[in-house]
Each structure stands twice: as structure tokens, then as C-alpha cells.
């Protein structure tokens, strides 16, 4: 919240769209603003009435550079919008930088997402430090329901809950890297970096970065689903393959490769396989191991065919590893299996588990 917990005294808040951006149809702007207000109305007793003239509590406008409040915008990029906390006069007013390209999708700045954030300020919410919260100050494109637990807790502390609540599924808080119960969805190398997928986030571990960096998957790759099941790097082809359900995507560096997504069955997996739990490429053999439930498959990257004699049992071929794995990685003759909150360091040549650690030891915890 802002200092002094500024809020509207009345639950019936009025708004007016003073002018429109030429980037979108008028109806699309109306729709984006109404949807953004509804995000907050769904979890509070607040109602929003649209005015077409006169002074409303929340005056919404598009302007560029100095636009009348001595709080200028800065041209394309940088500052996207700002809003004032509840109060008389300029209080609650919400301004969007007209020098930005406003869109309905992820191709430039999505008006709905920015509006939902700014209207949060207009209702009394300050910035959140949770990178998954709508009230985080940096723009990130996401799809689906935009509020996180942190946003809902904040707005309900000011106005209380909605007396007739709709069933909303808030986004969980960002994962905490040193949570002893932390599990991973997928782990891969990417040109010397390590990428760890967890829920709708990924950690990036770079040899020259002291701290792992946590980012929303959607903010880097808007077309990849929010949940990654498995990923591996094929350094010879300079590709990272990302699996989600029955589809897979390819990255070259951080760029998505054209021609994807493809079905995982193109690799030669039977149609009965609906999800890959973990994937790892063994540089020394040129094989990629794909783990599904209690079994694994071997894919030959040279011939681009599935090896015969598979699937085989994980438990039989990797003694000491439990029967299922969440993620896998390979370094210098060792396979690193992640299952639940544990990480198994397994020697590929001597077929033995050498060490068991917490999964998040990879994140310096």
C-alpha cells in the first residue's frame, strides 16, 4: 500500500476514459479497461461505473511527454504508464504513454496488463517485490488470470473480500529458491548457462552472475506454455528442446526456432505417451534419454530415430534412482537426476549414485 493506506472511502468508484489511443479500436480500449477493472472487482466489494462526461474518480487518458501533471513520459520504452493513489483531484487518475505501441496481444505492450497494474495503483496498491505479482513494477506479458496471492491479499486488506466471490484461481507466489521442499519441472544447459524451470518461472544461472535470476517464462517466450515438463540441450545442433505435454519447442540461444511446436511423437514415441517428465542429452554417446513415468527411451540425435529395445525401466538401468524423475542434466560423466526435493549425482560409467543433495543445492542453497 501507499503510505497512510490511501483508499476510496466509497465502494462505488466511477471512471471515465478521457481520450483513446489510435493504436487500437475504441471498443478494444473500452474492453481492456473494463476487463482490468473487473480483475479487481472480482476479489473486492468494489463496483465501477463508467461516466461519459464530467469528473470521475479515476480519469483515464493517453498522453505523451509532459501531459499536464508535471510528471512527463519519456518516449517509446522506459516508462509505460503511471497512476495516482486514491484521492481528490488527480488522485486515482491513470495515464498511459501514447508513445508506446498498445496492443491486444504480446506483439508490443498489452494494454489490458498495463491497465490492470495501473488501476491497482488507482485503488491504493503500491508496488510488490514478488516478480509474479501483477503489482511488480516491471512489465511482463502473461496470459490467464493476472492476480497473484500477494495482489489479492493487498487489495482485500484495503477493501475486504467480494461478498459474492467468483471462483478465481490466483497465481501462486513466486517459488523461493531456498525452500527445502522445492522441486523442479525441468533443467537444461543453454550455451554454458543453466536454466531451471519451475511452474511459470525459470531460473537462469550464469557463470558470471552471483545470484540466479528468476524470470517468468512468458516474459521471455510468450508462446511457450506456462508449464514446462522437460528440456535438454543438444550442443552439436546448438538447440535447446523444451517439452510441454505432447508438444515441443526449439530454442537457438534465447530465440524460438521456426517450424515449432512439433508433436513429441515425431521423435518416434508412441501416441500413448502424453508427457515427458525429463530429458537429457549425453554428449559422449550422442543419445538423448527421455523419461516418461517409470520408463525411459533413447533417441539417437545422429539418425534422428528412437533406438530399438526401449522403453526400459528407470529402476533397472539406473540403480539407486527412484522409479520416476522430474528433471535431469549431464555434466562430465555424471547424470544429475532431480526427483521431488532431492538431487542424485549418478556416475554414468560406474552406474552408481555418488551423492544425494537437496535439489536446490544447484541454486546455491
Amino acid at each position: 500500500h501507499f503510505p497512510r493506506h490511501l483508499k476510496w472511502e466509497n465502494n462505488n468508484v466511477t471512471f471515465r476514459i478521457v481520450n483513446y489511443t489510435p493504436d487500437l479500436k475504441k471498443a478494444d480500449v473500452d474492453k481492456a479497461i473494463r476487463r482490468a477493472l473487473n480483475v479487481w472487482a472480482d476479489v473486492t466489494p468494489l463496483t465501477f461505473k463508467k461516466l461519459y462526461e464530467g469528473n470521475a474518480d479515476i480519469m483515464i487518458s493517453f498522453g505523451s511527454k509532459e501531459h499536464g501533471d508535471y510528471n512527463p513520459f519519456d518516449g517509446p520504452g522506459g516508462l509505460l504508464a503511471h497512476a495516482y493513489p486514491p484521492g481528490q483531484g488527480i488522485g486515482g487518475d491513470t495515464h498511459f504513454d501514447e508513445d508506446e505501441q498498445w496492443t491486444k496481444d504480446s506483439s508490443a505492450y498489452n494494454l489490458f496488463i498495463v491497465a490492470a497494474h495501473e488501476l491497482g495503483h488507482a485503488l491504493g496498491m503500491s508496488h510488490s517485490t514478488d516478480p509474479g505479482a501483477l503489482m511488480y513494477p516491471i512489465y511482463t506479458y502473461t496470459t490467464g488470470y493476472p492476480l497473484a496471492e500477494d495482489d489479492i491479499e493487498g487489495i482485500q486488506a484495503l477493501y475486504g473480500p467480494n461478498p459474492n466471490p467468483k471462483k478465481v484461481k490466483p497465481r501462486p507466489d513466486a517459488p523461493k529458491k531456498c525452500d527445502p521442499e522445492l522441486t523442479f519441472d525441468a533443467v537444461t544447459e543453454l550455451r554454458g548457462e543453466t536454466i531451471i524451470f519451475k511452474d511459470r518461472y525459470y531460473w537462469r544461472i550464469h557463470p558470471q552472475m552471483v545470484e540466479p535470476e528468476l524470470t517468468l517464462i512468458k516474459s521471455t517466450w510468450p508462446s511457450i506454455p506456462n508449464k514446462v515438463d522437460a528440456a535438454y540441450e543438444n550442443p552439436e545442433k546448438d538447440l535447446v528442446i523444451i517439452f510441454s505435454g505432447i508438444r515441443m519447442w526449439a530454442l537457438n540461444g534465447y530465440n524460438l526456432v521456426d517450424g515449432y511446436p512439433k508433436y513429441i511423437h515425431k521423435l518416434g514415441l508412441p501416441k500413448s505417451v502424453r508427457k515427458i517428465d525429463a530429458a537429457v542429452h549425453i554428449k559422449d554417446t550422442g543419445k538423448t534419454l527421455l523419461f516418461t513415468d517409470e520408463d525411459y527411451w533413447s533417441y539417437d540425435e545422429t539418425t534422428e530415430t528412437m533406438d530399438s529395445g526401449y522403453p526400459r525401466s528407470i529402476e533397472d538401468d539406473f540403480p539407486g534412482i527412484e522409479d520416476e524423475v522430474d528433471a535431469a542434466a549431464y555434466h562430465y560423466g555424471y547424470l544429475y537426476f532431480f526427483h521431488e526435493h532431492l538431487q542424485y549425482e549418478y556416475s554414468y560409467n560406474s552406474k552408481k549414485v555418488f551423492r544425494i543433495q537437496r535439489a536446490n543445492s544447484i541454486l546455491n542453497c
Binding site: G77, A81, H117, Y139, E213
Partner: protein, 79 residues
Amino acid sequence: KPLSSEDIDKQLLAEKYLRRFYGLPSGLQGSRTSSNFLQAKIKEMQKFFKLEVTGNLDDNTLAVMKEPRCGVPDIGEYN
């Protein structure tokens, strides 16, 4: 020795950012030098964004400062 133009650019970017979002005061403030204030404000910003808190303008800190964002300050009173 004189700062390179790149260092000056970074410093300007940081000062502008911290003034706008973290209430960095302009000019010298009493017995504390402006660089003390700058370092304290960098630390505040690094803490907010869960970066490594060094008080230095490292690459990660500058990268966050360059991200597109909301114009509302992250801390303090908003007038």
C-alpha cells in the same frame, strides 16, 4: 582518472532512475556526500528487486533499470 563516457552514461541512468523511483535527493546533502546517498539508494533498489545487494552499479542492476516499467515510485510517498 576521468570516467569513460560509458561509465558516465551508466551513472546518469542510475541517478535518473533512483531519483524517480527511490527518492534519491539532488546535489550534496549535508555532511554525507552524494555518492553515499547513491550507494544507499542502489542498495535499496537491489533489495527491492532481490538482486545481490552490493551498492554498486553492476550489470544485473543496470539491466533491471533499463527494463520497461510503471512510472510509479517503488518506495516512499507519491505526490
